[in-house]
Each structure stands twice: as structure tokens, then as C-alpha cells.
């Protein structure tokens, strides 16, 4: 019997190696896998490359992972949300690298990785500072830059409901990067608010089919909060 549910966060995160590329879902306080992020802090992996829309706010969650010196590089679109104090300080001290990527390009690079596409051309960032040193080609008279797939070793995802096959759905704006990241890592780990019986989810409403999911841990997380 297939059962992707594991009984603890520690079990869900077992085997994450130093130097891993970690995709972390969420946008703002909604859809962030907070229990898995705390679990990663406990788990101890170092030299991580963190892929997330932002670079942590406040002192907890991703900001704490950064503050502990566990992240070598952040790949994100917006590291200057109000409260991104930890990242900004580390950046100033040159203790963390930053790869700044336009938000849509970030999402598409992750999508490409999950879909087995090595790279794509986009007009976004062509001719700008973020398009510098990138291969450029004209399509229909429009300058485009080559962007490459961004694959994770691990994806940390927050879902609304999950069944034992790893089928997932999401709640409202909690969807954001989560389903995209779920497709793009060697190991996709999910924290789900609700654990449901196989067959209970409407097949039409499954957003992430279980093929993309390796491990699920049930975390009745309550309402989204800023970590």
C-alpha cells in the first residue's frame, strides 16, 4: 500500500544534504511551509541554496535559517520586504550571495525544471541589468534572454489537503509557488493542513497529482502568520 504520510517533520526531512538547493513555497505569510522550515533548522544541513520569492522577514523561519549562517546563496525576486533585516545585514557583510531573478522568470525557471525543459527565451529583463551576461537572441524583432531551468534537490511545500498518494490541493492565495516547486525537486516534501482519505479529494480539484510528491506530514497549522 502506498503511503506517503510520515509521522514527523524529522522523518519528512531525513537525508537533506549540505549544499542542497532548497525550493521553499509561499508568498507573503500565506502558503509558507513553516513547520518544514523549522524542521530544516533542526535538521542541520548547511551551505544551502535557498530558492524562495523573498529572503525571510523578522527573526524566525527563513530569517532564522539565514541568521544561523546555514544559507550560502539566496535566489529570489524580492529580498527587501519590510522586515528583511537579517538578509540585508548578511548581504551587507557579504556573508550571503544573492541571485536576483524577476518573479515570473523565477516561477518559469522552476516550472521548466519540473517539465524537463532545459531553458527558454523571454523578453523579460532583456536590455536591463538583470539581463546582462545572458545569451540574447531576437524573436520577431524582440530581444530575448536565455534563462535556464532551476531545479531543486528538495522542495518544501505547504498544501491544504493531502491524501496518502500525495495528491494535493491548496487554499486560495496559498497556492502561489507551491505547485510549481512541487514538480521541480528530486525530493518533494509537503506539510498539509488536512489529511484526507484516498478518494475523498475531488479528482477535478487535485492541483498537484501525487506523482510529484514524495513525503507528506500532517501539520494542522492554523491561520497563516508571519513567522
Amino acid at each position: 500500500m502506498i503511503n506517503k504520510f510520515v509521522s514527523s517533520v524529522a522523518e519528512a526531512l531525513e537525508g537533506i544534504a549540505d549544499g542542497s538547493v532548497v525550493l521553499v513555497g509561499g508568498f507573503g505569510e500565506v502558503g509558507q511551509p513553516l513547520a518544514l522550515i523549522d524542521g530544516l533548522i533542526e535538521q542541520g544541513a548547511r551551505e544551502l541554496i535557498l530558492v524562495h520569492n523573498n529572503a525571510g522577514v523578522g527573526q524566525l523561519g527563513l530569517a532564522r535559517l539565514l541568521a544561523l549562517g546555514r544559507v550560502r546563496k539566496v535566489i529570489c525576486s524580492f529580498p527587501r520586504s519590510s522586515g528583511s533585516i537579517v538578509f540585508q545585514q548578511l548581504y551587507k557583510e557579504r556573508k550571503v550571495e544573492l541571485e536576483l531573478v524577476p518573479q515570473g522568470t523565477l516561477a518559469e525557471r522552476i516550472r521548466a525544471a519540473g517539465a524537463g525543459i532545459a531553458g527558454f527565451y523571454t523578453a523579460t529583463a532583456a536590455g536591463t541589468q538583470l539581463g546582462e551576461r545572458k545569451e540574447t537572441r531576437e524573436f520577431d524583432g524582440r530581444s530575448c534572454v536565455l534563462e535556464t531551468a532551476l531545479r531543486g534537490d528538495v522542495a518544501l511545500v505547504e498544501a491544504w489537503s493531502a491524501d496518502r498518494w500525495g495528491n494535493l490541493n491548496y487554499k486560495e492565495s496559498g497556492r502561489n509557488f507551491n505547485p510549481v516547486m512541487a514538480t521541480a525537486a528530486k525530493l518533494t516534501v509537503v506539510q498539509a493542513q488536512h489529511m484526507v482519505e484516498l478518494g475523498q479529494m475531488d479528482p477535478e480539484g487535485i492541483v498537484t497529482p501525487g506523482i510529484f510528491v514524495n513525503r507528506v506530514v500532517h501539520i494542522p497549522n492554523g491561520i497563516p502568520t508571519v513567522p
Binding site: G28, V30, P79, G104, A107, T122, E172, S173
Partner: protein
């Protein structure tokens, strides 16, 4: 003896008045993304009988107004991280699909704020000139490049009076040649091959006075 009538003293538009002015030009049926700042105010200035569908980068079409505090839904935020509502007919989708809507030219309009707009339609709105600070771009480049049309709403000059409508941008560019129209607190201008064509000025404003606040050469109304 007749007294000469004093010319009307020009009153620059407030942020809300600028938003109201932009709203007038958005027709029913358009799919629109509003950037952070003054553009966000446009949604509240739309007449309630006009169906315009607002998009948010984090996977929402059919975004509605900010709810009263007791009706906040914690799972429903927009790209500015504000709590919002969803209108009947609204939908949710993931980030890659959201930006496919933007990059794929499905949005009728993107309205953004800016530091500078150049007469060739270049726009600079993401990077300040601060040192030792990690810059953020968010979805600005995708929105400025991908939508069917890009309108900018911004103050005509900086706080210390420097023009924002320039020959060439001095700030790092967001997108090249994509601005179609600019709404400022003093005027409405179209980007045309000859430069900025003035289509509207606030009462009391003269072309000379507007030109003195603009680095780029203005094309007079035809």
C-alpha cells in the same frame, strides 16, 4: 473699470485624483494588473457598474476590495501582501500560470509607478541607487514587458523638483520602450515616436510651464 481675470492657479492632482483619472480610461472587460503605490488606489476609483477584472501576481483573477477587519480571510492576500477579497467569478492559479498571463500578453493593461520614464518609452522603477543594499525586482520587469500595454502613474517631478520625464533614464531600466502612456499630477502624456505628446493638462497649466518641469521635449497637443 474692468478687473482682469486672474489665471487659475494650477492645483497638482493628489494621489487619489491621479488614480481617479486613470480609472476613467479603463474600459469594461479589461484584465488589469495594478502595481504597488498609486496604481493600487485605482481599483477603488472604478465605477461599481463597470466590470474590470483585476489580476494579482500571486495567482488571483477577480480581486476585490480590502475587507472590513472582521471579514479578513487570512489566506487571501494580494501581491502587496494586503488582505483582499475575491469577487464572484474570481479564480486562483499558481505562480507560473499567473506570469504566463503576464508574459503571454493576456493582460490588457499593467499600471505601474516609476522613478523615470524616457521619451522612447523606457521605464526605470525597480532599482534605487543605494549602495550595499540588496535590490528587489519582484514582478516589475515581467509586468513592464509582458502586458498588452503599460501605463505609468507618477508625480511629474521628484520631491526636490527634478524631472521624471527624461530623454534617457538614469536609473537602472525595468523595460525598454514599452511605456504607452504616462499619468502625472500635472498632465497625461502619450509616448509617440516624436516623444511625449501632451494630451491633457490640469486647469491653469500651460505647455511652457509643463515643459519647464520636464527634461524631454514635449510634443504639443495637435
Amino acid at each position: 473699470m474692468m478687473t482682469e481675470r486672474a489665471p487659475v492657479d494650477p492645483h497638482p492632482l493628489t494621489s487619489k485624483e491621479m488614480a481617479t483619472r486613470v480609472a476613467v480610461d479603463i474600459p469594461e472587460g479589461w484584465y488589469v494588473n495594478l502595481g504597488i503605490g498609486i496604481p493600487t488606489l485605482i481599483a477603488d476609483q472604478m465605477p461599481s457598474d463597470r466590470e474590470v477584472i483585476f489580476h494579482s501576481e500571486n495567482g488571483i483573477l477577480g480581486m476585490g476590495p480590502v475587507p472590513r477587519p472582521e471579514l479578513v480571510d487570512p489566506w487571501l492576500i494580494n501581491a502587496g501582501k494586503q488582505h483582499i477579497t475575491l469577487r464572484a467569478g474570481g479564480s486562483f492559479f499558481h505562480h507560473a500560470e499567473s506570469f504566463a498571463m503576464i508574459r503571454g500578453g493576456h493582460l490588457d493593461l499593467s499600471v505601474l509607478g516609476a522613478f523615470e520614464v524616457a521619451e522612447n518609452g523606457d521605464v526605470a522603477n525597480w532599482a534605487t541607487l543605494e549602495k550595499d543594499t540588496a535590490l528587489g525586482v519582484g514582478g516589475a520587469m515581467d509586468l513592464a514587458t509582458g502586458a498588452k500595454r503599460l501605463w505609468i502613474v507618477m508625480e511629474h517631478t521628484t520631491k526636490d523638483g527634478r524631472p521624471r520625464l527624461v530623454r534617457r533614464c538614469s536609473y537602472p531600466l525595468t523595460a525598454l520602450g514599452t511605456v504607452k502612456r504616462v499619468y502625472t499630477n500635472l498632465a497625461v502624456l502619450e509616448v509617440v515616436p516624436q516623444g511625449f505628446a501632451v494630451t491633457e493638462m490640469i486647469p491653469g497649466m500651460t505647455l511652457d510651464s509643463l515643459q519647464s518641469r520636464t527634461e524631454a521635449k514635449l510634443v504639443p497637443p495637435s
